[in-house]
Amino acid sequence: MKMIVAIIQPEKLEDVRKALIDAEIFRLTISRASGHGKPVDESLYRGQVFKPNLQPKMRIEIALNDHFVEPAIQAILEAARKSDGAIGDGKIFVMPMEDCIRIRTGERGGEAI
């Protein structure tokens, strides 16, 4: 079992969700986050252009059985990339996971994902 954490552009959230559903990955958890990376985005404030230090991002967390990991990565990669790949497009992190428990039933392990 793996835990995938993907940091993506907020505007790509819907596309990524659709892509994951197409890859038969239905369950995920999303939260707002702020990214600090190469600043390229622009923000305006009374006639001045700012490159904000922190930019809004979406953080997607997906627990997966091993054979779903590659499809998930591919789905995210395709859906989250801007037409030609732009700075700020995001990252995917893959971490090991040891157990997963479904609260409703108490099932554990791969079953419960």
Binding site: P10, E11, E14, R32, S34, E42, P56
Partner: protein, 439 residues
């Protein structure tokens, strides 16, 4: 002359009192009073209320911005509020330059015109019959011209370009609102036929229809209706609804152009209809969905307010209760039907303002305050229907032409990627709620 009736009615007491006194005095002691012939005296009380009304109607602009702004998705909150504020900026100038002249100038056929009104240059000291400086009337009416295009913006919320919107506001106000207001209030061919006390036809129906047409032409938001699009801030929508209710007192009671009986009557039925509309909507929801929602409550408030708008000076309290109820019932139905039909009138401009306006404009016929010089109920009903049909037809046709024109030239609808990213980021380079990110 419908528009002018209430004013003459309401100011009768004041005017006649002074007139009578003067007549008496003049008769008794035979001193000529030439100054009085030239221009009516200012009535400080009426002026006070009309200025206040103007401020109250202005309050509806931020109120509407809050109401609409709270209902869209987070990424479009600034863009949506901007629609209201931009209307205030554009029409604020436009009205002073040509709008008042085109609406209330002498009829030159299609619209009015009066070179004294151009840039408001010839009315610096003019006082109207009702005892208010003409400037006050200009400003009060100007607020109506501002709010009307702002209302429409709800129909195509979350998906239009700012440039296109600015052009739309400019053109629509000039080519739809000014003529229509001229026809019904300013001396044009419908003046004195249809009763439209505070703008049910001119404002709500024309905006509702324009909204419907543009929503249909521009198409639904991406992902609608499969993706649920949650209001980003219902709390703000409730605040906005509160301000709208308060502002509507200026809207309706101010339309009496007086501070007297008609004003009080308009105030009273406005309050009652809003409350009745709210109650009705949550009652329907209670039965239909087993839950009453806050959005339902405020939608009912609006439905009640819209329905009473054309009728405010002419119906009795029980009529206000019925019109408020009917407003909510029909609007609730209209919103449900929209969902069935699947078009995306984002914030239900047609469902609330269009339908509510029609219910009010036609429904008022049956609750009119008895009065000797009313036409028969059939005649009145015909006048009302006529007004409604003209408003629907004219607004629909010209709006469609404008939308097509703008879409083909400047571009109106946002391209998909921009729409996904949201208006706030793409069009304005801003973010509504910085608080969501550590800052």
């Amino acid at each position: 002359m419908q528009r002018l009736q209430p004013q003459s009615l309401a100011t009768r007491s004041t005017a006649s009192r002074l007139g009578w006194l003067l007549a008496l005095i003049t008769a008794a002691i035979a001193i000529p009073a030439p100054a009085f012939a030239q221009q009516p005296e200012i009535d400080t009380g009426t002026t006070a209320w009309m200025i206040t009304s103007t401020a109250l109607v202005l309050l509806m602009v931020p109120g509407l911005a809050m109401f609409y702004g709270g209902l869209v998705r987070t990424r479009n909150v600034i863009g949506t509020m901007m629609h209201c504020f931009t209307a205030m900026a554009i029409v604020g100038v436009l009205w002073a330059v040509v709008g008042y002249s085109m609406t209330f100038g002498d009829s030159i056929g299609f619209v009015g015109w009066n070179s004294d009104f151009f840039m408001l240059q010839g009315i610096d000291e003019t006082v109207r019959e009702s005892g208010i400086p003409e400037y006050v009337f200009v400003m009060f009416q100007g607020k109506f011209a501002i709010i009307t295009p702002a209302l429409i913006a709800g129909a195509f919320a979350e998906r239009v370009r700012f440039r296109g919107y600015c052009a739309f506001v400019l053109l629509w106000t000039t080519l739809v609102y000014f003529p229509l207001a001229h026809w019904i209030w300013g001396g044009g061919f419908l003046t004195g036929r249809a009763i439209d006390f505070a703008g049910g036809t001119v404002i709500h129906i024309s905006a509702g229809v324009a909204g419907l047409v543009s929503a249909l032409y521009l198409g639904a938001r991406r992902g609608y209706p499969q993706t649920a699009m949650h209001p980003n801030n219902l709390v703000m929508t409730l605040m906005g609804a509160g301000l709208l209710w308060v502002g509507w007192f200026g809207f309706n009671a101010g339309s009496s152009e007086a501070s007297g009986l008609v004003t009080a009557q308009a105030l009273t039925v406005t309050q009652i209809s809003a409350a009745a509309g709210a109650l009705t909507w949550i009652a329907i929801e209670g039965v239909h969905l087993k839950k009453a929602t806050s959005l339902g409550l405020v939608s009912g408030i609006l439905a009640g307010l819209v329905a009473i708008t054309p009728a405010a000076g002419d119906v009795l309290p029980y009529g206000a209760i019925v019109l408020g109820m009917l407003g909510s019932i029909f609007c609730y139905g209209a919103v449900l039907i929209k969902a069935k039909l699947g078009y995306d009138d984002t914030l239900d401009v047609f469902g609330i303002h269009g339908v509510g306006g029609i219910v009010g404009a036609i429904g008022l016929t049956f609750f009119l305050r008895p009065s000797p010089d009313r036409p028969s109920i059939g005649t009145q009903l015909w006048h009302q229907v006529e007004g409604v049909l003209v408003s629907i037809g004219y607004s629909a046709v010209v709006t469609l032409i404008l939308i097509i024109l703008i879409e083909k030239t400047l571009g109106f609808r946002m391209p998909p990627a921009e729409e996904n990213a949201g208006m706030d980021h793409v069009l304005h380079g801003e973010e509504g709620y910085g608080l969501l990110n550590p800052n």
